[in-house]
């Protein structure tokens, strides 16, 4: 069998071959195979979407109904009551704001610091650049549990003024979670950005050096604007990761009112009885921002992941 189908051979959606043009035999043969491919991919896609759809469906139905007939049954009544309940009784909006308080500064700081480190490593020939790159990259690959215990002990001993933390400690404050998120994610960002910056044309920076531009000017005015695509990709990815983080807040925050939304989801679980439909509504609410971000910024999202794995 000769299957010389280049990756770009498939007809692009919406550009069907003109009717008058005779089909190439090579284009005709895979048609039956293609039908099978669509059944396979369609089946997998459906299977992958099903749990999410089930969560949405369960969240719209009252507990009594699903308790009697199960989640996989025809609806008798649908309502947004659980969403109302999640917002009013469980104050999901408060936890959502907590997540933003942690994720937005976290992303900005990590991008700023990581881009500068990457600039130094990739663009200024200083000694030990490779060592720095290894130091940061390796740090991002450690399992979180390796560092969680000493951090817990340390944060409990570091005192902060009252205006920074109500607990007067680094422990149980947003600072702790932001700090750890930034430190932990920096390795990934440095690695991706260093790869990206190496690929920038030399001439621009050399011209800037000739013009007498200092390190800061070269970084802030020249390299950073050129890195916009990489920064957008990383920003999207990092926001999702920090927003989704579960462990750091669980360990470093004890005051239930300060929990980010992902960790607060556990609070929807009752002490003796768990209304899984309410939990489903909560899960959908937690997942919604990340899904929206993904659908809107899909290109950046995927670029961020693949920048780290294939060398640019």
């Amino acid at each position: 069998m000769t299957a010389d189908i280049p990756t770009t051979a498939g007809p692009r959606p919406g550009t069907a071959a003109p009717a008058g043009k005779p089909d190439r035999p090579a284009a005709k043969r895979p048609r039956r195979g293609r039908f099978g491919v669509h059944i396979f991919l369609g089946g997998v896609s459906l299977a992958f979407l099903a749990p999410l759809l089930l969560a949405v469906y369960a969240s719209l139905r009252p507990y009594e109904e699903t308790a009697e007939h199960g989640y996989f049954s025809l609806p008798r009544s649908l309502s947004f009551d659980y969403y109302r309940q999640a917002f009013s009784d469980s104050e999901m909006s408060k936890y959502f704001i907590n997540s933003i308080i942690i994720a937005v500064p976290g992303v900005l700081v990590v991008l700023f610091l990581a881009s500068f480190v990457a600039f130094v490593v990739a663009r200024l020939r200083i000694r030990g650049g490779l060592f720095l790159l290894i130091l940061f990259t390796a740090g991002n690959l450690l399992p979180q549990q390796v560092i969680v215990t000493p951090l817990y002990v340390m944060f409990n001993r570091i005192e902060l003024p009252y205006w920074m933390s109500e607990s007067m400690l680094l422990y149980d404050s947003y600072w702790a979670v932001i700090l750890v998120n930034v430190g932990f994610q920096m390795g990934f960002c440095v690695f991706v950005l260093a790869n990206f910056m190496r690929a920038l044309p030399n001439e621009i920076l050399e011209a800037a050096v000739v013009d007498g531009a200092g390190v800061w000017t070269r970084y802030w005015r020249i390299v950073l604007p050129l890195c916009r695509p990489a920064l957008a990709a990383l920003g999207t990815l990092q926001f999702t990761w920090m927003y989704n983080d579960f462990l750091w807040a669980l360990v470093f925050i004890s005051d239930g009112d300060k929990l980010p939304i992902t960790s607060a989801l556990n609070n929807l679980r009752g002490q003796f009885f768990t209304d899984y439909n309410l939990l489903a509504a909560g899960s959908v609410l937690v997942a919604l921002p990340t899904i929206v971000v993904f659908l809107l910024l899909q290109r950046h999202f995927i670029a961020g992941l693949t920048l780290g794995s294939t060398k640019g």
Binding site: T7, G10, G42, A55, V182, T310
Partner: protein, 308 residues
């Protein structure tokens, strides 16, 4: 300046001091210094501390009391019952993600990369679970696998004698692995899609001209040329398996058959017992296993850096 002669290079090095003004050095010192300090404070300091504390019996309050390798003896000797089940579960996790979810992701990438209609749609749907928090995945798993109301039992139609998918301690780890694989597959698929796009079409054409069939072309030509991606996927698979925590914690706090090393570490510090020394010993076990793979990855990545 790739073709700098040795002399040029020497002068450049000598000129390093002069290359940076005082202001430059201040900027580098402050920003780079801050980043390095943060990295040491948050990552490397605690890593060293974990190793040190693992030789103590510290509870977080009393004086440090060195106990040598006692914590490790306790772990290995089976005096801490959840340890070996947790090791087994972590290994199962690696095996399942590595042997089932990862090849499946690769298969999907290959099929999509051949160029079918609606490939964007397929790609997005399969990738969608990756953006979900693992905690959310854990909660959704409960809707599917719950004994009395879950969708799986309803589809199987065994209402009279329902299977407790998440409550049965011989069964639940497999259900959790399915949920974890749900998320892992899309991740692997995206990485391989990028990898496949980077393979030069000439290579495939050359193989086809030499009479290789599609399978041979993939196994002998395409797959080996994707070596960098293969390494990344391997490392991600193993690191994710060792880090696994959120899903089981969201389901039942990692008890009753869902023990994982990461859960045991967390239990030993935020649990009532606060056995910090002991928890650190478990963390060091995790560290040791992952370090081998981290080094493999770095060697692969940095080999390219030096050539630049």
């Amino acid at each position: 300046m790739p073709h700098a002669t040795a002399r040029e290079r020497r002068t450049r090095r000598r000129g390093l001091r002069r290359r940076f003004t005082a202001r430059d050095l201040a900027v580098i010192g402050v920003l780079l210094g801050f980043a390095i300090l943060l990295d040491l404070f948050v990552i490397w300091g605690p890593t060293v501390a974990s190793i040190t504390l693992s030789f103590s019996s510290w509870d977080g309050l009393s004086d440090l009391n060195w106990v040598g390798g006692d914590n490790y003896d306790t772990l290995a000797g089976g005096d801490y019952p959840p340890f070996w089940p947790a090791v087994r579960n972590n290994l199962l996790w690696i095996a399942f993600l590595g042997l089932v979810a990862t090849p499946f992701g690769l298969l999907l990438a290959v099929v999509i990369d051949r160029g079918v209609r609606f490939s964007r749609f397929y790609q997005s749907t399969i990738y969608l679970p990756v953006v979900l928090s693992l905690a959310v995945v854990g909660f959704i798993a409960q809707l599917v696998f719950s004994r009395d109301q879950g969708a799986l039992n309803a589809i199987l139609g065994n209402q009279d004698n329902p299977t407790d998918w998440l409550g049965d301690r011989d069964l639940n780890i497999w259900m959790v692995l399915l949920a974890a694989g749900w998320r892992h597959t899309g991740y692997v698929m995206i990485l391989y899609l990028a990898g496949l796009k980077a393979v030069a079409p000439e290579l495939k054409e050359a193989a086809a001209i030499d009479g290789a069939n599609e399978r041979q072309t993939f196994l002998r030509v395409v797959f080996p040329t994707m070596r960098p991606v293969n390494v990344v996927v391997l490392v991600i698979t193993i690191i994710e398996s060792l880090r696994a925590f959120d899903i089981v914690y969201a389901i039942n706090k990692g008890r009753n058959g869902l023990e994982l090393l990461s859960v045991l570490v967390t239990d030993n510090i935020i649990g009532e017992a606060s056995r910090i020394g002991f928890g650190s010993a478990i963390a060091v076990v995790l560290l040791t296993v992952s370090l081998g793979f981290i080094v493999t990855y770095l060697v692969q990545e940095m080999r390219g850096e030096e050539r630049r």
